[in-house]
C-alpha cells in the first residue's frame, strides 16, 4: 500500500492532533495582509503582459496590424501566432494521452478566432498602464462567420467549430444494454425529464496569474504561479518550451482559490513563459476579472435526458441518462470531458437493477469547459431531481421514496449496474441523520398548514397566482468518488525532514489553495513525530516530490497517506537512534511532547531536538546501519477510488408574486471517514454548499445571440453573497476508509449535493401549483415564468 516506510519500529503514534480542530497554521500571515500571492511580485525590470483578444465568436482575421502598438513608447514586444506558435510544443495537460483527442493545439489564434476572448496577440510593456494603452492600438479586422452557439444542436451542425476535427463531437461513449429498455418498459411507472444546467464559472477570488523569468546561461525558467498543481505546471512548461523538467522551477506561494481552474495551464500562461524566454526578463501577467469570467474556463453546461422506472410501491428498477456537455472551443488542459464519469455515477446511493447511459461532448464557439468542484455533478442533479419527480408521480414522500431505495449497511459491498463497487459508505445513515437535523416531519406538518391557507387561493389553472409564500423542503443524497487514484493520479509523494535543531519540514507535491493542507498535513506529521504541529513547516512547489497536486478531493487521502508514510520512516529512524543513545529498546520508548522517553523511567529522556542533533552531528554515536540525518521520502499509492457520501436537506420559502427564493435552513450529514481536522471539514463543505447554492439560484454565464459574453463582471455574474446563503448545520457519520488513517476526500461534495438539494426544495414549494422545474438557475424570472405557465 505505501512506499518504503520500512519495518515498523516501536509503538504506533498516538493521535494527538489528528482529529482535532487545530487552528490553521497559515492564518496569521493571511489575516495580517502578509499572504504571499503572486500579484505581490514585481521584481525590477519586469515586463507586464496582456492579451489582445477576439471580440468575435467566430471570424476570419482579415487584417492584424500591430505596428502602432509596437511603436508605443514603453512597449517591448507585440507578438502574434506567426511569431510564437512555431516556438511551442503541445499545450495538452499531462493527463491527456497523446492521440487522446482534444481541440487544436495552438498558442495564439492563427488566421481565425473561435470564441470571444480567443487570444490573438500578446503585448509586453514596461508597465501595466502602457500595456493597457498598447492593447487599444492592436488593430484586428474580422470577416464574421456564423458561430456554433447551441450545444444541444452542435452535434448535428455541419458548421464546425474546429474544421480540422471534422466534427463538433469531441468524444462520446455509451453503455446501454437492451435489458434496460425492457426493465423500463416493464416498470409500473416511469418518469422522464430533460434537465439543463446553467453554464457556470469557477470565479476564484484571485484570478489566474504568474511571474516567469528565464535565466539565460543558467538555462532555467523560474515560475511563480497561482496554481493547484506545481508539478503539472513544471511538466507542461517543459513540454511546451522544449526544456527538461529540471530546467523549470515552479514556486508557489498562497493561492486565492481555484476550484479546478488552476490545475492545468491555459494558453495565456504558456504565452507568458514564452515571452520570458524570448526577452530574458521577468514577465508578469495577472488576469483581469473580465478575462477570468470570459476566457479562463466555464463549467457545468450539461443536458441530461434522464428516466427512472419503479414499481408501484416505489422500488427503482431502471434508470437511463442521455447526457450532453458543452466543451466550449478549447477545453482547459485539452480535457476531453466528464461525461463518462458523470454517467457511471448515475445510480448514486440507490439500488437500481438496470442502468443505461450515453454521453457526448461537443464543441461550441464559447469559452472552453474546465473542471469545477465536482465536474461530474450532473449525475447527482439528474438523479435527485428525477427521484423527486417520481415521488410526486407516485404520491410518495420524497424522503420515504429515498428510504425505500437507499443502500444500507447490509447491501455493502454493492456493485452498481454501471460497474462500480461501493463499500464503506453510509448513505442510509446520513439520510436518517439529515432528516432528523432538519426536522423533516415537523416541517412537513407546518407546510401542510401553510399550503392549506395559502394554497386555497392558488388553484392552478384558475388564474395566475398572486401573492403569498410557499414553503418547500428538499433532500439530495450522493456518493462522491473522492481521491480518484487511477494512472497518473494514483500516487503522491512527501519528504519529511527533522532538521538538526529538531524543527520539522515537510515537502509535498500538493497545491493547497485554501484547503488548509499546511495545517492538516502538519497534524499528521506532528502525531507521527510526537511534536507540536506548530513545529512543522509545510512546503509545496519546486524541490518537492512529484504529485498531481490538489484537486479531485485527493489531498487528505493521497498526500496525507504520503506524509504519513514519510513521517513513519522518520519516526522509525528517530526511535532507533534514541534507543541507541539511551541504551534502550525502541519498543520501550514513548515519543510525544517533543521528546523520547523510556517507558516507566521518565527521567531517561531526550528531546527530539537532541536526537536530531545527534543524527546529524554525531554520526559515530548512531547505530551502525544508520548513516546519519533524519529524513525520509515516501510515496503513497491510493486505492482506485475512496468513496465518501453525504445527504443534504434544506428548507426554503418561495414568494409566488416575485419568484424569489429564500433559503431558511441548510443541513448536511456527511461521511468523510476519520476527520483530520473537523473545523476544516466543515469549512470545505460550507464553501462547496455556497457555490452550489449560487449554481442553483444565481450564477449563469450567458452569451447573446452572436456569442458575445454578457456576464463580464461580478455585477452580472452573480456569485452568492452572505445575504443569499443561510447558516449551515452539520452532522457526521464516520465510516473509515481502507486508507491509512481512514480518511476520505470531502472537498467537492458540498458543491455536488447542494444544487439538487436547493432545486428539490424549490420544486417542492411550488408543487401545489403544478410547476415543473428542469432548468437552472432558479432566478425569480424563471420561477415566475414557470408559475405562470403552470397556471395556463
Amino acid at each position: 500500500m505505501s512506499g518504503s516506510s520500512g519495518p515498523s519500529v516501536g509503538a504506533p503514534p498516538a493521535a494527538r492532533y489528528v482529529g482535532q480542530s487545530v487552528a490553521r497554521l497559515e492564518d496569521p500571515r493571511l489575516l495580517t495582509g502578509r499572504g504571499r500571492y503572486v500579484a505581490n511580485l514585481v521584481p525590477p525590470g519586469t515586463g507586464h503582459v496582456a492579451f489582445a483578444r477576439s471580440t468575435r465568436a467566430r471570424a476570419r482575421i482579415t487584417r492584424l496590424d500591430i505596428k502602432a502598438a509596437a511603436a508605443l513608447d514603453g512597449v517591448w514586444a507585440v507578438w502574434t501566432a506567426a511569431d510564437l506558435n512555431p516556438d511551442v510544443g503541445s499545450l495538452r495537460g499531462s493527463l491527456v494521452l497523446p492521440g487522446g483527442g482534444g481541440p487544436p493545439d495552438h498558442l495564439l489564434a492563427d488566421g481565425d478566432v473561435r470564441f470571444v476572448g480567443d487570444p490573438v496577440a500578446v503585448v509586453v510593456a514596461v508597465s501595466p498602464a502602457v500595456v493597457a494603452d498598447a492593447l487599444e492600438l492592436v488593430e484586428i479586422d474580422y470577416e464574421d462567420q456564423t458561430p456554433v452557439l447551441d450545444f444541444e444542436t452542435a452535434a448535428e451542425n455541419n458548421n464546425l467549430v474546429h474544421p480540422e476535427l471534422g466534427s463538433n463531437v469531441s468524444n462520446s461513449a455509451e453503455a446501454w444494454p437492451t435489458t434496460v429498455d425492457e426493465a423500463m418498459a416493464g416498470a409500473d411507472t416511469s418518469v422522464r425529464a430533460v434537465i439543463t444546467q446553467n453554464r457556470q464559472a469557477n470565479a476564484p477570488m484571485e484570478t489566474r496569474g504568474l511571474l516567469a523569468e528565464w535565466r539565460a546561461f543558467d538555462e532555467t525558467l523560474d515560475v511563480w504561479i497561482s496554481t493547484q498543481s506545481p508539478h503539472e505546471t513544471a511538466l507542461a512548461a517543459a513540454r511546451t518550451l522544449g526544456l527538461a523538467v529540471h530546467q523549470v522551477r515552479v514556486h508557489m506561494g498562497d493561492v486565492g482559490g481555484g476550484f479546478g481552474q488552476k490545475v492545468f495551464l491555459g494558453r495565456e500562461e504558456f504565452a507568458v513563459m514564452v515571452c520570458a524566454r524570448r526577452l530574458g526578463r521577468p514577465m508578469r501577467w495577472i488576469e483581469g476579472r473580465s478575462e477570468n469570467l470570459t476566457s479562463s474556463n466555464h463549467a457545468r453546461r450539461d443536458r441530461a435526458d434522464v428516466s427512472l422506472g419503479a414499481t408501484a410501491d416505489g422500488r427503482f428498477v431502471a434508470a437511463t441518462i442521455d447526457h450532453l456537455e458543452d466543451n466550449g472551443a478549447y477545453s482547459n488542459g485539452g480535457n476531453p470531458g466528464n461525461g463518462r464519469m458523470a454517467c457511471v455515477h448515475l445510480p448514486g446511493p440507490y439500488r437500481i437493477g438496470s442502468v443505461g447511459w450515453r454521453t457526448a461532448t461537443v464543441y461550441t464557439n464559447t469559452c472552453g469547459r474546465g473542471a469545477y468542484r465536482g465536474p461530474w455533478q450532473i449525475e447527482s442533479v439528474a438523479r435527485e431531481l428525477i427521484v423527486d419527480m417520481l415521488a410526486r408521480r407516485l404520491e410518495i414522500d420524497p424522503l420515504e421514496l429515498r428510504r425505500r431505495n437507499v443502500l444500507r449497511a447490509e447491501d455493502l459491498p454493492h456493485n452498481t449496474a454501471t460497474g462500480l463497487t461501493y463499500d464503506r459508505i453510509s448513505p442510509a445513515e446520513c439520510l436518517d441523520q439529515v432528516a432528523e437535523m432538519i426536522d423533516y416531519d415537523g416541517f412537513r406538518a407546518t407546510q401542510r398548514e401553510v399550503r392549506a391557507t395559502v394554497g386555497a387561493s392558488l388553484a392552478p389553472g384558475e388564474r395566475a397566482p398572486g401573492a403569498g409564500s410557499l414553503p418547500g423542503i428538499g433532500v439530495a443524497v450522493y456518493v462522491e468518488p473522492s481521491a480518484i487514484g487511477f494512472g497518473a493520479l494514483a500516487t503522491e509523494g512527501a519528504t519529511v525532514r527533522v532538521e538538526p535543531d529538531g524543527s520539522v519540514n515537510v515537502y509535498a507535491g500538493t497545491g493547497s489553495h485554501g484547503q488548509s493542507l499546511e495545517t492538516t498535513i502538519a497534524q499528521i506529521v506532528a502525531d507521527a513525530l510526537g511534536v507540536h504541529p506548530g513545529n512543522v513547516r509545510f512546503h509545496q512547489g519546486h524541490g518537492t516530490p512529484y504529485g498531481f497536486g490538489t484537486g479531485g478531493s485527493r489531498s487528505a487521502v493521497i498526500a496525507g497517506g504520503a506524509a504519513r508514510a514519510a513521517s513513519a520512516g522518520v519516526r522509525a529512524k528517530l526511535l532507533r537512534i534514541a534507543a541507541e543513545l539511551m541504551e534502550a529498546s525502541p519498543d520501550d520508548l514513548d515519543l510525544g511532547g517533543g521528546a523520547v522517553a523510556v517507558r516507566g523511567t521518565p527521567a531517561r529522556r531526550m528531546t527530539v531536538a537532541e536526537v536530531a542533533q545527534a543524527a546529524y552531528m554525531r554520526p559515530d554515536a548512531l547505530p551502525d546501519d544508520i548513516s546519519g540525518g533524519l529524513e525520509h521520502t515516501a510515496r503513497f499509492k491510493a486505492p482506485p477510488v475512496t468513496y465518501s457520501n453525504a445527504a443534504h436537506a434544506c428548507t426554503c420559502e418561495v414568494d409566488i408574486a416575485t419568484g424569489e427564493v429564500r433559503l431558511l435552513r441548510y443541513a448536511v450529514s456527511e461521511d468523510c471517514g476519520a476527520m483530520i481536522n473537523p473545523m476544516v471539514v466543515k469549512g470545505q463543505i460550507a464553501g462547496g454548499v455556497a457555490q452550489g447554492i449560487g449554481g442553483a439560484l444565481l450564477e449563469e454565464v450567458s452569451y447573446d445571440a452572436d456569442g458575445n459574453p454578457l456576464t463580464t463582471t461580478f455585477a452580472d455574474y452573480l456569485v452568492p453573497s452572505a445575504a443569499e446563503v443561510p447558516s449551515f448545520e452539520f452532522g457526521h457519520i464516520v465510516t473509515l476508509s481502507d486508507s491509512p488513517g481512514g480518511h476520505k476526500g470531502t472537498g467537492e461534495g458540498g458543491a455536488i449535493g447542494s444544487v439538487p438539494c436547493v432545486f428539490n426544495a424549490v420544486a417542492d414549494a411550488l408543487a401545489p401549483l403544478g410547476v415543473r422545474l428542469t432548468d437552472g438557475p432558479l432566478s425569480p424570472h424563471r420561477i415566475r415564468t414557470a408559475i405562470l405557465e403552470a397556471a395556463g
Binding site: 492564518d27 493561492v255 464553501g687
Partner: protein, 160 residues
C-alpha cells in the same frame, strides 16, 4: 502623463508621494507604498477584496484614484496587528475559520471592523447583511458571521 503630489496618512504615518492621475488607490498602496495586504479581486468595484478604511468608512480602493485620497486618513489590513499580537477580530477569524484561501480576508476584516465600530451590539442578521458587500468564494460566509459576532463580544468586553 500628468502626476500629482499627494499627502496621505496611512496606518498612522504621514506619506507624501507623486502619483500618476490614473493610479488607483489600490495600486498606489500595493506597489508604491508596498502594502500588498490590500488585494485586487476584480478592479470593478464589485468584490470588496480591495476594501480599505478612509476616515473609518469602507472604500473600494480599486475604483478610487490615489489623487482622490489626498489628505485622507487611510487604514489598511496591515494596521490591525502593528505589533506581535493579532487584533481580536483577526483572532476570531482564526478561531472560527473565517477564511480559507485568504484572498477576500483583508477586505472582509476591514468591513467587519467598520460594522462593529458602527454597532458593537450587532446581531447575526446585521453581521450577515453587513458583510454581504464583500464576496468570499471559499467559506460560505457562516464562519465569518460567527467570527464577527464573537469579535464584537470580545471587543465590548475589552471596552467595558
Amino acid at each position: 502623463m500628468s502626476t500629482h503630489d499627494i499627502t496621505v496618512t496611512i496606518n498612522g504615518a504621514a506619506t507624501s508621494a507623486s502619483v500618476e492621475s490614473r493610479r488607483s488607490l489600490a495600486d498606489f498602496l500595493r506597489h508604491d507604498v508596498g502594502l500588498v495586504g490590500t488585494h485586487i479581486g476584480c478592479e470593478q468595484g464589485a468584490c470588496g477584496a480591495c476594501t480599505v478604511l478612509i476616515g473609518g468608512r469602507s472604500v473600494r480602493s480599486c475604483i478610487m484614484f490615489a489623487v482622490q485620497a489626498d489628505g485622507a486618513e487611510i487604514q489598511t489590513v496591515e494596521s490591525l496587528a502593528p505589533g506581535a499580537e493579532m487584533h481580536p477580530l483577526q483572532e476570531a477569524f482564526r478561531r472560527h475559520q473565517g477564511l480559507q484561501c485568504g484572498f477576500c480576508t483583508p477586505g472582509m476584516l476591514l468591513r467587519s471592523l467598520e460594522l462593529i465600530n458602527d454597532n458593537p451590539n450587532l446581531t447575526a442578521e446585521e453581521a450577515r447583511e453587513g458583510i454581504s458587500s464583500n464576496m468570499c468564494r471559499c467559506t460560505g460566509y457562516q464562519y465569518i458571521v460567527d467570527a464577527v459576532l464573537d469579535a464584537a463580544a470580545e471587543m465590548r468586553a475589552e471596552e467595558g
